[in-house]
């Protein structure tokens, strides 16, 4: 982080109704730099819906989201967030390097260079490999590498540990701890028990 200023993400009175079913109502949360928000709940409880509302893909049925005190659309929110969802968002016909360069072009350069990021997610040397030749776990790590190369404060992660092995999970947990230590914040859903040490983890249970 170039500036050590703190950021905040605040949700007020959020509701989501899907097919006449109320997923959650009057949900409120606040998150500041260095914190992690873990969404828990069983399948279909609205975890992904909440993340998609945060990303702006869905409109909340009521309530509002504020970034550093301003409504999301009036702020620098989209320049300071990064999302990794169920879909990897990477092109299988392109190489690892081409995919990361594209992500970089869509955003602005962040803390790490592409080479550093690939080393960090243990994919150094795969630069010119076509993504369709990679395993599911490698694809996941590649999509998480995107978080490292672009400038961002808030990570929104939907089940980031899917198809990762134990080492992969430990690796991502390390990256998440580092991100929080650098003043970042994370909102994620996960079925795994996450092992984040020295990080302030808030939990919201959706039911």
């Amino acid at each position: 982080m170039q500036t050590k200023s703190t950021y905040s993400l605040k949700g007020k009175g959020l509701s989501c109704i899907r097919d006449d079913r109320v997923l959650f109502e009057q949900l409120a949360f606040e998150l500041v730099s260095g914190q992690v928000l873990l969404l828990e709940g069983k399948n279909g409880s609205g975890k992904t819906s909440l993340l998609r509302i945060l990303c702006g893909f869905r409109e909340p049925d009521s309530g509002s989201i504020h970034w550093c005190g301003d409504a999301v659309n009036d702020s620098q929110f989209y320049a300071q967030m990064a999302y990794v969802g169920h879909l990897d968002g990477i092109k299988k016909e392109l190489t690892v390097l081409e995919n990361l360069k594209m992500s970089l072009a869509l955003s602005s350069p962040g803390r790490h260079s592409i080479d550093e990021a690939l080393t960090k997610v243990h994919m150094a040397g795969y630069d010119d490999a076509l993504v369709q030749a990679l395993s599911a776990g490698q694809k996941r790590r590649l999509s998480l590498a995107r978080l490292l190369i672009t400038e961002n404060v808030l990570w929104i992660l939907d089940e980031p540990f899917t198809s990762l092995d134990k080492q992969g999970i430990a690796l991502i947990e390390t990256l998440m701890t580092e991100h929080c230590a650098n003043g970042g914040m994370i909102v994620l859903t996960s079925h795994h028990d996450i092992g984040l040490h020295d990080v302030d983890v808030r939990r919201i249970h959706l039911s």
Binding site: R52, F57, A79, M81, Y83, L87, K91, L94, A105
Partner: protein, 224 residues
């Protein structure tokens, strides 16, 4: 963080993708050639009739070829999540979408221009009309991609959007078809076609300015 860099990166990415999966270029082009070659076979050896309907045949085939290729514009990005990443970019979505449309035209529209003179000669179109035919295609096919993009953006989230897409888009293609077909017809008879060409230019400029924004808005709706 520069917008032009993002814009050209989108174009370059889509061109590289098109080169790696070649069917995207070949399908509309082959369709265009096949449909046009079927007409003389169906109508029989009547050069005058063929010559008279040649502009219509070429333009209707171009319209259908453009229709056929539309689905590939956003489909793969929608399926693999790249579209989410494009929408989350801090850059204006409409500009990035315009980049995608331009790349799509370069891949599916431009090849039609290259084979069209050959096919026109094959249908017996007079040589002095070929220039105008190319000009109308140059002005008209980008409009097909631009207008089509709105339709695809609206239907990309539907599982079977194909039929709705043609219902949505084909009526909007009619003005292009009328003015372009008419221009080629008139130039074949040696009449001036400035008016039609000017209208086509106006349609192109309007589509260029007006199409990207509703496309971006429709994509946001479809991703929901």
């Amino acid at each position: 963080m520069s917008l032009s860099r993002a814009f050209f990166a989108v174009i370059r990415r889509d061109l590289v993708l098109a080169l790696r999966r070649r069917s995207e270029i070949a399908n509309p082009l082959l369709f265009f050639i096949l449909v046009i070659t079927l007409f003389p076979l169906g109508i029989g050896a009547q050069p005058h009739l063929l010559q008279a309907i040649a502009p219509g045949i070429i333009w209707v085939s171009a319209l259908l070829a453009a229709m056929l290729s539309l689905d590939s514009l956003f489909r793969s990005d929608f399926d693999d999540g790249s579209l989410e990443q494009i929408l989350l970019s801090p850059h204006p979505t409409s500009v990035l979408v315009l980049g995608k449309i331009i790349a799509h035209w370069l891949v599916t529209g431009l090849p039609l221009l290259i084979v069209a003179p050959l096919l026109a000669v094959f249908l017996g179109m007079p040589n002095h009309a070929l220039g105008i035919l190319l000009l109308t295609l140059l002005l008209g096919t980008p409009v097909l991609s631009l207008i089509g993009a709105i339709g695809v953006a609206l239907t990309v989230g539907l599982r079977r959007g194909g039929m709705i897409l043609s219902l949505l888009v084909l009526p909007l293609y009619v003005p292009v078809l009328i003015f372009a077909g008419n221009a080629v017809q008139m130039s074949g008879s040696g009449l001036p076609v400035d008016a039609q060409i000017n209208i086509l230019i106006a349609i192109l400029l309007m589509a260029l300015v007006l199409a990207p924004m509703p496309t971006a808005a429709a994509l946001k709706m479809s991703i929901n």
